[in-house]
C-alpha cells in the first residue's frame, strides 16, 4: 500500500527560558494509506509533538514531512490552514467542542470553510452524527452530553469533511474503560470500513490494541515499531 505520510529526519526544538530544547531527534516514519497507527511512549517523549507536525498544527525545525505527496513543512501559515481544513480531522482528549454551539453546529464548523450551502452543511453534519450514533442528540449542547457522547461529536466533526487523515491525541484519555472501548471501536470502524488513515497518540495499551500498528517513542526517538490488531 502507498505511503500517505512520510516523515524524514524530522527534528523539533523549542526555546524555553533562553534554553533550546530538542524534542524530536531526526525521526523517520512512513505511514501507509489506510493504516491505523498508535504512537506510544512516556510523557515528554515527543509523541504529541510528532502528531502535531503530522497534522500540520506545527512546523518542524528540520527535516521533511510529506502527506499525500505534499511537503507540508514548506507551506505558509495560510496554506497550512487550508490544507488542514481539506485533509485532516482532529480528535482530542478533552473533545474541544465549542460549548455555545449545539452538537449539529459543532459538527458543521469545518464545513463553514467549504462552499456548501446551509442545507448541505446540515445534511452532511446529520450524516456524520448518524455515523457516530448520535443522530438524536443533534440539538444538544456539549454540557448536555456525556463524555463519551462529546467524544463522538468530536469524531463526527473530524470526519464531516471526509478528510484523508484522522489525527487523534489521547482520544480515550478522559473516558471510563467501557466508553473508551466504544470510542476505539468507532475509530476502528472508520479505519476498516471507511478507509480512514488514523494516527493516534495514547498511553493506554488497551486503546493501542485497536491499532494495526504500534510505534514507540522515547526521548524524541522512534525506538520500536510493532504490528497490532
Amino acid at each position: 500500500m502507498a505511503d500517505l505520510v512520510q516523515v524524514r529526519a524530522v527534528t523539533k526544538s523549542y526555546r524555553r527560558g533562553g534554553e533550546t530544547i530538542e524534542v524530536l531527534h531526526g525521526v523517520d516514519l512512513d505511514i501507509a494509506r489506510g493504516d491505523f497507527v498508535a504512537l506510544m511512549g512516556p510523557s515528554g517523549s515527543g509523541k504529541t509533538t510528532l502528531l502535531n507536525l503530522i497534522g500540520g498544527l506545527d512546523t518542524p525545525t528540520g527535516g521533511a514531512i510529506v502527506v499525500d505527496g505534499r511537503r507540508i513543512d514548506r507551506l505558509s501559515s495560510g496554506e497550512l490552514s487550508a490544507w488542514r481544513a481539506a485533509h485532516v480531522g482532529f480528535v482530542f482528549q478533552f473533545y474541544n467542542l465549542l460549548p455555545v454551539l449545539s452538537a449539529q453546529r459543532n459538527v458543521e464548523l469545518p464545513l463553514l470553510l467549504t462552499s456548501l450551502s446551509a442545507a448541505e452543511r446540515r445534511r452532511h453534519a446529520a450524516i456524520a452524527l448518524a455515523l457516530v450514533g448520535l443522530a438524536d442528540r443533534a440539538r444538544h449542547k456539549p454540557r448536555e452530553l456525556s463524555g463519551g457522547q462529546e467524544q463522538r461529536v468530536a469524531i463526527a466533526r473530524a470526519i464531516v469533511s471526509d478528510p484523508t487523515l484522522l489525527v487523534c491525541d489521547e482520544p480515550t484519555g478522559d473516558l471510563d474503560r467501557a466508553t473508551a472501548g466504544e470510542i476505539m471501536a468507532l475509530l476502528q470502524m472508520l479505519n476498516r470500513e471507511h478507509g480512514k488513515t488514523i494516527v493516534m497518540v495514547t498511553h493506554d495499551p488497551k486503546a493501542a490494541e485497536y491499532a494495526s500498528r504500534r510505534l514507540h517513542l522515547d526521548k524524541g526517538t522512534l525506538i520500536a515499531d510493532g504490528a497490532g490488531a
Binding site: N52, L57, F90, L101, R105, L113
Partner: protein, 387 residues
C-alpha cells in the same frame, strides 16, 4: 451570513455580561441620537438658510429700527431681485408663558422670500387682502387649538395702539407650514399685515425691524451686502447686511456653542463606552483562547479568525447602536409633545443615522482590533496546551 450563528453564540456566551454591555451601548447611542437632535434643532436656522437670501439690520443692534424707505433703495441695488421688511414685537398670548414671535410683514413680499414655507393659495390671498389678517405656523395652531376665521387676541410688550392699549386683535386667515422637518421649527411664528400694524401703532410709524433680500446669484452675496451697506453709510440709519446663514449662526451662538457642548458630552460618553466595552471584549476573547485555537485547528486561517473577532465587535456595536438610535427616534416625538411645541422639533436626521453608523464602526474597530490581533498571533499548539 454563514458565520452569524457562530458570532451570535460567541457574543452571548455570557448572557448577563453581554446584555449589560449592550445596555451601556444602547444608552450611549440613545444619548447620541437625542443630543444630535438638539444640536440639529439649534443649527436648523443655519442649515435652512438660503444662500440667495440676505438680511439687513441696523448697523449696531438688531433692535434698532430702520426706515421703511430703505426698501425702495435696496430694491434698486443690482443683483437684488426682491426685498421684504419685517418687524418684531414681543408678545404674550393669554399668559406670560405663551410667548411666540409675531412679525409684521408685507404678506406677498415676505412669503415670496420664503418659498420653503407652504400655504394654501387662497389663504395667502386672504392674508394679502385682509388688513387685520394673520397667518400662523401649523405647530402654533396645533398647540393652541386655533381655527381659521377666529380672532387672535395678542398682547404686545412693546407696541401700543393709538388708543394706548397693548392688546391687539387679528383675524386668523391662514396656516403656514414646511415639508422639511428641519425647517418646520422656523414656522413657529405669527405673521401680521404690516399695513394695518403700522397704521394702528402709537409709535415708530414708518420704521421696520429688518429687511430680507433675495439675490440672483449666491456668489454675489458679499458684494451685494457691501453695496447695500455702502448706500446707507454715514447716514443716521446705517445698516449691516450679511447672508442669512451668518445671521443664523451668530444668533445660535448667542445662546451658546451647542455643537461644542454636545461634542464634549459625547466624547466623554464614548470614551467611557470604549473603555467598558473594550475591557469586556478583551476579557471575552481571553476566555475563548482554546476555542479560537480549535477554530484554527479546523482550518480557519489567521485572517479569518481575526475577522471573526472584529465581526463580533461590529455585531455588538451594530446591535447596541441600532437599538439606541431606534430608541432615540422613538422617544423624540414624545419629547416634542411634552414641550408643547415651545422648542424646535427634535428628530433624528439621516445624517445623524450615518454618523451613528460611522461611530459604531469606529468603536467596534477600536475594541475589536486588539483582541483580534491577539487571536491572530495565537499559536495553536501553545493555546491547546494551555500555555
Amino acid at each position: 451570513m454563514r458565520y452569524l450563528p457562530l458570532l451570535w453564540a460567541g457574543l452571548f456566551r455570557r448572557k448577563t455580561r453581554t446584555i449589560l454591555t449592550l445596555l451601556s451601548i444602547v444608552v450611549a447611542f440613545l444619548l447620541f441620537g437625542m443630543l444630535r437632535a438638539v444640536q440639529t434643532a439649534f443649527e436648523s436656522g443655519a442649515d435652512a438658510a438660503d444662500a440667495k437670501r440676505l438680511l439687513t439690520t441696523a448697523r449696531y443692534s438688531i433692535i434698532e429700527p430702520l426706515p421703511m424707505a430703505h426698501l425702495k433703495v435696496i430694491e434698486r441695488v443690482p443683483g437684488v431681485v426682491g426685498v421684504a421688511s419685517a418687524d418684531w414685537f414681543r408678545t404674550k398670548y393669554q399668559n406670560e408663558s405663551n410667548a411666540f414671535p409675531v412679525f409684521a410683514v408685507d404678506p406677498a413680499r415676505y412669503l415670496d422670500m420664503y418659498p420653503e414655507f407652504t400655504i394654501d393659495p387662497a389663504q395667502r390671498e386672504a392674508f394679502a387682502k385682509t388688513r387685520t389678517g394673520a397667518v400662523a405656523g401649523q405647530r402654533l395652531v396645533d398647540r393652541y387649538g386655533w381655527r381659521i376665521g377666529q380672532k387672535l387676541p395678542i398682547a404686545s410688550e412693546i407696541h401700543a395702539k393709538t388708543d394706548g392699549s397693548l392688546n391687539w386683535e387679528f383675524d386668523l386667515v391662514g396656516v403656514i407650514d414646511a415639508e422639511d422637518p428641519a425647517i418646520r421649527g422656523n414656522t413657529d411664528v405669527v405673521l401680521i399685515n404690516v399695513a394695518h400694524f403700522d397704521e394702528a401703532r402709537q409709535l415708530g410709524r414708518g420704521k421696520t425691524g429688518w429687511y430680507v433680500e433675495r439675490i440672483a446669484e449666491s456668489e454675489q452675496a458679499k458684494a451685494i451686502s457691501s453695496e447695500i451697506d455702502r448706500l446707507f453709510a454715514n447716514s443716521p440709519d446705517e445698516t449691516k447686511t450679511a447672508p442669512e446663514k451668518e445671521f443664523a449662526v451668530g444668533f445660535a451662538k448667542q445662546i451658546g456653542d451647542i455643537g461644542a457642548v454636545v461634542t464634549r458630552i459625547l466624547i466623554a460618553v464614548f470614551f467611557t463606552i470604549l473603555i467598558l466595552t473594550g475591557n469586556t471584549m478583551a476579557q471575552s476573547i481571553r476566555e475563548r483562547i482554546p476555542e479560537l485555537a480549535i477554530l484554527k485547528t479546523l482550518g480557519f486561517s489567521d485572517a479569518r479568525v481575526t475577522a471573526l473577532v472584529v465581526a463580533e465587535a461590529v455585531l455588538l456595536l451594530a446591535l447596541g447602536g441600532g437599538l439606541g438610535m431606534a430608541a432615540a427616534a422613538a422617544l423624540l416625538p414624545a419629547v416634542n409633545g411634552s414641550t408643547g411645541g415651545r422648542f424646535p422639533p427634535l428628530f433624528v436626521t439621516e445624517t445623524t443615522w450615518l454618523a451613528a453608523a460611522g461611530l459604531a464602526l469606529l468603536v467596534a474597530l477600536a475594541i475589536g482590533l486588539p483582541p483580534a490581533l491577539r487571536a491572530r498571533r495565537l499559536r495553536i499548539v501553545d493555546a491547546l496546551a494551555g500555555r
